[in-house]
């Protein structure tokens, strides 16, 4: 993905040629088929194939359809969408335009986290540029197709990255996830059929249309193609964003691209896909970074945000940060998550203050297991799985 902030620079690098090709020379069905063939998997966390998601929207409906871009990026350790929004906003706008054309959508909203105020202003400028040059608005590129595009700011709630909480929030309500089914593809924003895609997912679409699905799948793995923006943070030599083929080894990302550990630091553990992804020990990082390999290793690729933890960090500190986060961010709707995360934090705080009692670790595991699978939305699992992972991998240290 080239990075070009202004519309002029983006166009000089070939930007908006894919939209031109799609709108002038391809039917919506052909665009949908190409993205399906590419097998583009969602870059937000769940890894669901984008083309398949688009195909669930009913072709015939008397309601308007909506595209919601998920730019809520709240998963700790994740900063890739901020990178795209800051440095390459037109890739998102062009990808959204192509997605909207494929599904027959005429209104898109970007839901951007409230803390990204300065980035939202820059995105607003990019949207204005796109309107001025005829890439948004009515009769785009003389095709007769029209798309309106609005930027909508959140206000500090991790839960709004969950797609149905995002819809509630966009409607002006608390971010309480909805019961599924019905899925957003049939009953979404304002009760109408809705596609929700992550920023990075949509930013991949122009290249798929311009170069074709075969080009896209030439990088990455057969069932999980293309490249991903991996974010590396923690005590490494070069923390940052690395665009690499899906399936690149975790060891290579940390020790080659990110330059390895800072002098004097030794690797203890890695959280491979944002804070919700169960932790891996230092001896478990010879692993391909793709959705299926991470699941097989008992973790998940999630957002591709890699948090590197060094030997000097007590695992209890890691557990405390995880427990504090989910207790703060539980929306309060489902009892197991609301009470479970609060009780877990209470016990972890007690342990951290040196007043732990025998059986605390088993009690934490029991509480986390009581959240897992017991909530309306995936946040319950997002809270329970990393805690269970830390206990499974580092029980001796926690009890020591």
């Amino acid at each position: 993905m080239d990075m070009n902030r202004s519309l002029e620079a983006y166009r000089e690098a070939g930007g908006y040629q894919a939209a031109r090709k799609a709108l002038a020379a391809m039917t919506p069905a052909a665009v949908l088929d190409e993205v399906k063939k590419a097998g583009l998997r969602g870059r937000g966390g769940a890894g669901f194939p984008a083309g398949l998601k688009w195909s669930f929207v009913p072709a015939k409906t008397d309601k308007p359809k909506y595209l919601c871009v998920n730019a809520d990026e709240g998963e700790p350790g994740t900063f890739k969408d901020r990178f795209i929004l800051s440095h390459n906003p037109h890739a998102l706008i062009e990808g959204s335009l192509i997605a909207a054309y494929a599904v027959g959508i005429h209104q898109a909203y970007v839901y951007i986290r409230g803390e990204y105020e300065m980035i939202a202003r820059r995105l607003d400028q990019a949207v204005t540029e796109a309107y001025e040059k005829g890439f948004l608005g009515a009769n785009i590129l003389e095709s007769g197709f029209s798309l309106d595009f609005g930027v909508h700011r959140g206000a500090g709630a991790y839960i709004c990255g969950e797609e149905t909480a995002l819809l509630e929030s966009l409607e002006g309500k608390r971010g309480h996830p909805r019961l599924k089914p019905p899925f957003p593809a049939s009953v979404g924003l304002f009760g109408a059929p809705t596609v929700i895609n992550n920023v990075e997912t949509l930013a991949n679409v122009p290249a798929i249309i311009l170069h074709g699905a075969d080009w896209f799948t030439a990088a990455g793995l057969p069932r999980d193609g293309g490249t991903r923006l991996f974010g590396v943070s923690g005590p490494v030599v070069r923390p940052g964003i690395y665009e690499l083929p899906v399936g690149t080894s975790l060891r290579e990302i940390i020790f080659s691209h990110a330059g390895g550990m800072l002098p004097g630091k030794r690797l203890k553990a890695v959280i491979p896909g944002g804070l919700s992804a169960p932790i891996l020990r230092a001896d478990e990082i010879d692993l391909k970074m793709d959705c299926d390999s991470l699941v097989a290793a008992g973790s998940m690729l999630g957002s591709g945000g890699i948090i590197v933890i060094d030997e000097a960090t007590p695992i209890l500190d890691v557990l405390f940060r995880v427990a504090k986060f989910y207790a703060h961010e539980s929306c309060g709707q489902c009892t197991p998550c609301r009470l479970g995360t609060a009780w877990i934090l209470k016990i972890v705080r007690r342990m951290a203050s040196g007043n732990g009692v025998r059986g605390d670790v088993d009690e934490l595991a029991r509480l986390a297991a009581g959240i897992k699978g017991m909530t309306l939305c995936p946040m319950g699992d997002a809270a329970a799985l990393p805690i269970l992972g830390i206990i499974r991998k580092f029980k001796a240290e926690l009890e020591g």
């Binding site: 308007p64 990026e73 709240g74 998963e75 700790p76 350790g77 994740t78 900063f79 969408d81 901020r82 986290r113 409230g114 803390e115 990204y116 105020e117 300065m118 609005g150 909508h152 700011r153 959140g154 206000a155 500090g156 709630a157 991790y158 929030s169 966009l170 409607e171 002006g172 309500k173 608390r174 971010g175 304002f190 974010g231 590396v232 943070s233 923690g234 005590p235 923390p239 940052g240 964003i241 959280i271 804070l275 945000g305 948090i307 590197v308 933890i309 060094d310 960090t313 500190d317 890691v318 940060r321 995880v322 504090k324 986060f325 703060h328 961010e329 929306c331």
Partner: protein, 157 residues
Amino acid sequence: MSAPLSADLRAGIERLAARYPRKAAALLPVLHLVQNDRGFIGPDEEAEVAVLLGIGPIEVREVVTFYTMFRRRPAGRHLVQVCSNLSCTLMGGERILDYLKKNLAIGVGETTSDGRFTLTTVECLGACEQAPCLMIDFDYHGNLTEEKIEAILGGAA
């Protein structure tokens, strides 16, 4: 009682409301607008916003109290928010927070006696490659050191 919202602010609210098929959908952007103007969102502001968007005051209260960025009381002129999540604490985020507490002589959630700074912690800001980081008002600052913090605080009137 707060003064009524200004004509400019009311016009801004109407403009935001017009961007959505239902006016109520503009609630979050509208509350940001009001908070930027007033510094906080009190019961009077809630009531006025409710009338303008055609919803009940309780629906506004629910949203104001659900989202961490909305304030029901005034804060200092500058809001300093230090990231307290894992990537930052791995890189010394706690030391940064301790330095700010000592330097400003306040605790987390408090405001300096001259009304200049309010200090809070915040969950992941999405700038982990620059850990440890903080946000002052809407500006991000990363790779923090004590010297950098001095410069940042010094630059905020």
